[in-house]
């Protein structure tokens, strides 16, 4: 056992709760005000209006679903891939808004749409999402944590390793 092997399941648990709770909260706040969520997506001026509107309606449910899976520890790897790609997408979208000189709120936790120039928080938003991306990468690498439903899978996955698989 490598040092840190004991702490890893706990780190995974913390990561799952962190990313999961953020996703659930973000989804919940948006699902309550769908019109505003749609507006937030449109304000990025990235997608055709029809698709932006659909995205604004679908995204909160997807976030809540992925968040729920992470919190209960189910299909952690897939949920982490989804969450991580989502965060990267947000980083890209916010960066392009910043680069293009748009004045918008990211709309990450409800709200969103255009804001007055000088009231943008692009750097904080990008750093936060990058932090969550790193969390997602960690969860992808170490999906097995404490109090997760996936836990039982560990034994299945570990069995071949016991037969001389020289992995980590």
């Amino acid at each position: 056992m490598k040092p840190g092997a004991k702490i890893q399941p706990w780190l995974t648990l913390i990561g799952r709760i962190l990313l999961g709770a953020v996703l659930i909260l973000a989804g919940y706040l948006k699902v309550k005000s769908p019109a505003e969520a749609q507006m937030a997506v449109r304000a990025y001026k990235l997608l055709p209006v029809t698709i932006a509107n659909l995205f604004g309606l679908a995204l909160p449910w997807l976030e809540m679903g992925a968040g729920l899976l992470l919190v209960v520890g189910l299909a952690v790897r897939y949920a982490a891939i989804f969450g991580g790609l989502l965060m990267l997408l947000f980083v890209g979208a916010i960066s392009q808004a910043w680069a293009r000189g748009l004045s918008i709120d990211c709309g990450c936790f409800g709200g969103g749409g255009q804001v007055a120039a000088g009231h943008t928080k692009y750097l904080q938003e990008i750093l936060r999402d990058l932090g969550l991306t790193l969390t997602a990468i960690y969860l992808y690498r170490f999906p097995q944590g404490k109090f997760g439903i996936d836990k039982e899978d560990k034994e299945i996955e570990l069995e071949p390793k016991n037969d001389g698989d020289h992995s980590e």
């Binding site: 699902v31 005000s33 769908p34 019109a35 505003e36 749609q38 507006m39 449109r42 304000a43 209006v49 029809t50 509107n53 659909l54 309606l57 679908a58 909160p60 449910w61 997807l62 809540m64 679903g65 729920l68 899976l69 189910l74 299909a75 749409g113 255009q114 439903i149 996936d150 039982e152 899978d153 034994e155 299945i156």
Partner: protein, 233 residues
């Protein structure tokens, strides 16, 4: 040897069961997500079967229309709870109302409701007064009495009924219209249409279909020039 095989078998049966349960749980989450998406999409579409105020039509984006035959047309997207809309009303409200009352412009009001439940109450109450020809007065009254914070519980059907009376609409029909929340579902149509038209902030003003320069919202002289250029005398 025999024992190991039996326990291995038991183990694999157990694991198979667990993985079925697990897949079922994942499937349920995905199912709920799919149902949620479908629900959101359906509930945010325009619905042609809901009650709409008398001057409203789908062709004008479900907005409340004044002077439908005037040449110059303005479209205003606003939310009665939005602070910038109040600023715009303070600056340009009197002027625009004057033009509308004089019949010089076609005006289409699109009261949006993305700020929340009290926006819906306010918009549908305003629509009730529109049926009685008092929309502009109610419009002014709503901004003059805009609560300091959003969805604070200040605007209820009871307070909005009083506001309608203060604005000069004392008709019983308006009172019962507000009470019944007759036009709350219509606000959903306005919102869905605004989404289609890519309205991303309030207030948004279009003059003959062209969006007003951002700097002109709080500059009455510039707005007057724009309207003059669009044919308003």
């Amino acid at each position: 040897m025999m024992e190991t095989t039996v326990s291995e078998k038991k183990n694999s049966v157990k694991k198979a069961k667990e993985s079925t349960t697990r897949n079922l749980a994942i499937g349920m989450v995905l199912f709920v997500v799919a149902v949620g998406v479908i629900f959101s999409v359906l509930s945010n579409k325009t619905n042609s079967h809901v009650a709409i105020p008398s001057s409203v039509s789908a062709t004008d984006g479900y907005g409340i229309v004044f002077n439908k035959d005037a040449k110059t047309r303005i479209d205003i997207w606003e939310d009665f709870q939005c602070p910038h809309c109040r600023e715009f009303e303070d600056i340009a409200g009197n002027y625009l109302n004057g033009l509308i009352r004089a019949g010089k412009i076609k005006a289409v009001f699109h009261p949006m409701t993305f700020i929340g439940p009290e926006s819906i109450l306010a918009a549908s109450a305003a629509a009730c007064t529109a049926d009685n020809g008092k929309f502009l007065d109610m419009h002014t009254a709503l901004y003059n009495n805009q609560p300091g914070s959003e969805n604070s519980g200040t605007w209820t059907n009871a307070t909005l009924k009083l506001l309608a009376i203060t604005a000069g609409d004392t008709s019983k029909r308006t009172q019962s219209c507000i009470d019944a929340g007759k036009y709350t579902k219509w606000t959903n149509n306005v919102e869905a249409d605004a989404a289609k038209k890519n309205v991303n902030s309030t207030p948004t003003l279009f003059i003959n279909g062209v969006q007003l320069n951002q700097a002109h919202y709080l500059d009455l002289a510039a707005l007057k020039k724009d309207l003059a250029a669009a044919g308003v005398k």
